[in-house]
């Protein structure tokens, strides 16, 4: 029997045997291709705890799988594979391998919060999506998403100077995400700004770009913020069981830097 809709089946689950006889029946070859079902053989209880320890994931355990979030979801309307309800379930039950299959879709949430308003149990699915994307990054399953990079560049500048300078944020963002500096939309925007904005403002913008003004007496605020950020990052590392990994990495670095033979 040929398999209809074969593309729906994950290739590793299609099994064709060169020579296989079961109870005297020859089931070799293409015409006897088997579809293996994927059996869930264990729950990994740590995942729910890890994701719920990240900001946004706190209320994941409330979900009763009604599907309102998926039904109301902006992204789901264009990509049916984007299914917050399903991922929340996989996380709650600890079906890690299933979750990881969708690692390249999960981060696509546009934070419209439609799901937040639809959810009858106050799970805050938008937050869960954020926490899950964060979890995937921290665990090294996905590279940093463009929006994470943007957040880092933006926050980094605020923390450093107490001010925000859009041109600089944009330049650094494009650079760190490997995008060319000359973007057609950017060129158009700058053109219009040059024609549209009053001269005084343009000069101001230019100077700010060169001299990088800072909020006065920012240093104390900066160190307080940095301390807080470090504390939170440590918390997340510990919650995700990454402390050991960090320690290991450090040890590896030191052992490599000691000359061999010592």
């Amino acid at each position: 029997m040929p398999i209809h809709e074969e593309h729906l089946i994950r290739p590793e689950n299609l099994k064709t045997h060169e020579n296989l006889v079961i109870d005297g029946v020859d089931v070799s070859g293409h015409w006897s291709t088997f579809i293996e079902s994927r059996v869930v053989t264990d729950y990994n209880e740590a995942i729910e705890e890890e994701i719920s320890s990240l900001p946004g994931g706190e209320f994941i355990h409330r979900c009763w799988q009604c599907g309102s979030c998926t039904n109301s979801c902006t992204v789901n309307a264009v990509n049916p594979e984007f299914n917050p309800r399903y991922w929340i379930y996989l996380i709650r039950m600890g079906m890690e391998s299933e979750l990881l299959r969708d690692r390249d879709i999960i981060w696509q949430c546009v934070s419209c919060n439609k799901c937040t308003y639809a959810c009858p149990r106050d799970v805050m699915p938008e937050g869960v999506m954020k926490a899950t994307a964060h979890w995937l990054e921290l665990k090294g399953h996905t590279p940093k998403s463009p929006s994470t990079v943007f957040d880092e560049v933006f926050a980094g500048q605020v923390i450093e100077t107490g001010k925000i300078e859009e041109g600089r944020v944009l330049r650094h963002f494009l650079k760190r995400t490997g995008q060319p500096m000359i973007q057609p939309w950017l060129v158009e925007m700058v053109k219009r700004m040059v024609f549209g904005l009053p001269l005084k403002m343009l000069i101001h913008l230019g100077l700010a770009n060169i001299f990088r003004p800072r909020t006065s007496q920012w240093a104390r605020a900066r160190s307080a913020i940095n301390e807080y950020v470090a504390e939170k990052e440590d918390e997340h590392q510990t919650a995700l069981g990454l402390d050991d990994l960090v320690e290991l990495a450090k040890q590896e670095v030191t052992s490599k830097s000691t000359p061999a033979g010592e």
């Binding site: 079902s37 994927r38 059996v39 869930v40 053989t41 264990d42 299933e98």
Partner: protein, 350 residues
């Protein structure tokens, strides 16, 4: 002096009826098959009750002593009714102790029988030591022993509670929902999580029926405060490998077969009709309803009426009921029985 009211069965419903009648000066005789009063919560050693959270031995124990200390209630434990005859206002009952008593009316509060899980062999009860029932877990908690695997006394790290065991199942001729087991299971799951912090509890369900206000305090609370997990699956079979029980089924929300290891599997057993019901039906000359519980006349006329005038019914004898409802029905049936005892029932009926 009117003849006493005969009450058969000393569980929550019978105790409520006896208390009601005595408190308005009506004599009654309480006949109980077992050697002590209290019904299922006492005889089966339940732990904390839904929804009060009180220990069964305190809550129901209080109802027992209230009745035992009342002179208007004559208690006959270890006794059953063998013969019953007569008409409203003048019944006569022959008891198993050889005595014959006169009664003006009767209330049957003979309750239910726990489903025997051996009748679902695919779920491993009676075959594997660590497959237990909700009543056994109630006893583990109420005895102070704590929740432990019977095989070796270890603390379970992962517990599965299977709902609807002996309910909602045509294969074994039981179509009814036992009504209270979802809530009782959520309650037990929270008690397990409270005692054993690092033990994860999974509830396998077809529907969750924590009806009415129990939704917040059991279904929602068990998830929000105690992180109990609910999985929509009817389990196919329970087997054993080394010291783990293997639970097989289909997780219907992800369309995936599951074979998950557990330390302990708990059957949320349902409420069967009292095994004595055929006998009770013959002795008292009353009809059973199609499932085998005692038939109730419509609820809009005489409260608690059976097919025989002057014989009333209350509690889980009529079908699965909670303790609170059984108690309310006991009080209500007392009202009907009292009316007959006072000769008013006849007047009202005319």
């Amino acid at each position: 002096m009117t003849k006493p009211v005969l009450i058969v069965g000393g569980g929550p419903a019978g105790l409520a009826a006896a208390h009601s009648l005595a408190s308005i000066g009506q004599k009654c005789i309480l006949v109980e098959k077992e050697d002590r009063l209290g019904g299922a919560p006492i005889l089966s050693g339940y732990a904390k009750l839904v929804p009060s959270g009180e220990w069964a031995k305190d809550a129901i124990g209080g109802m027992v002593s209230r009745v035992e200390n009342n002179k208007l209630v004559e208690i006959k434990t270890g006794t059953i009714v063998n013969e019953f005859s007569g008409n409203p206002g003048s019944f006569s009952a022959k008891l198993s102790d050889g005595k014959t008593i006169k009664a003006s009316s009767a209330i049957l509060s003979t309750g239910f029988t726990h489903f025997d899980s051996v009748n679902k062999p695919e779920w491993g009860f009676g075959t594997f030591e660590n497959v237990v029932t909700t009543t056994q877990v109630e006893q583990m908690i109420s005895s102070g022993q704590g929740v432990r695997c019977p095989s070796d006394g270890r603390k379970p790290k992962r517990v599965a509670i299977l709902l609807c065991v002996g309910s909602r199942d045509r294969q074994i001729g039981r179509e009814w929902c036992s009504k209270i087991c979802c809530t009782v299971s959520a309650n037990l799951a929270m008690e397990i999580r409270e005692e054993l912090e690092d033990c994860h509890v999974y509830i396998y369900y077809m529907d969750i029926r924590t009806f009415g206000l129990y939704e917040t305090s059991y279904y929602w609370r068990s998830q929000e405060e105690f992180k109990v997990k609910y999985i929509k699956a009817r389990i196919a079979e329970v087997t054993q490998k080394d010291d783990k029980l293997i639970v097989k089924g289909e997780d219907t929300l992800v369309k995936r077969p599951i074979t998950i290891p557990f330390d302990m599997v708990v059957h949320a057993i349902g409420m069967d009709p009292n095994v004595d019901n055929m006998l009770i039906s013959t002795i008292f000359g009353i009809d059973l309803e199609p499932h085998g519980f005692i038939g109730k006349q419509n609820s809009y006329g005489d409260i608690g009426a059976t097919s025989r005038p002057g014989v009333f019914i209350a509690g889980a004898a009529t079908g699965p009921e909670s303790i609170d409802d059984s108690i309310a029905q006991g009080h209500a049936a007392a009202m009907s029985a009292y009316a007959v005892a006072q000769g008013a029932g006849k007047v009202a009926a005319e």
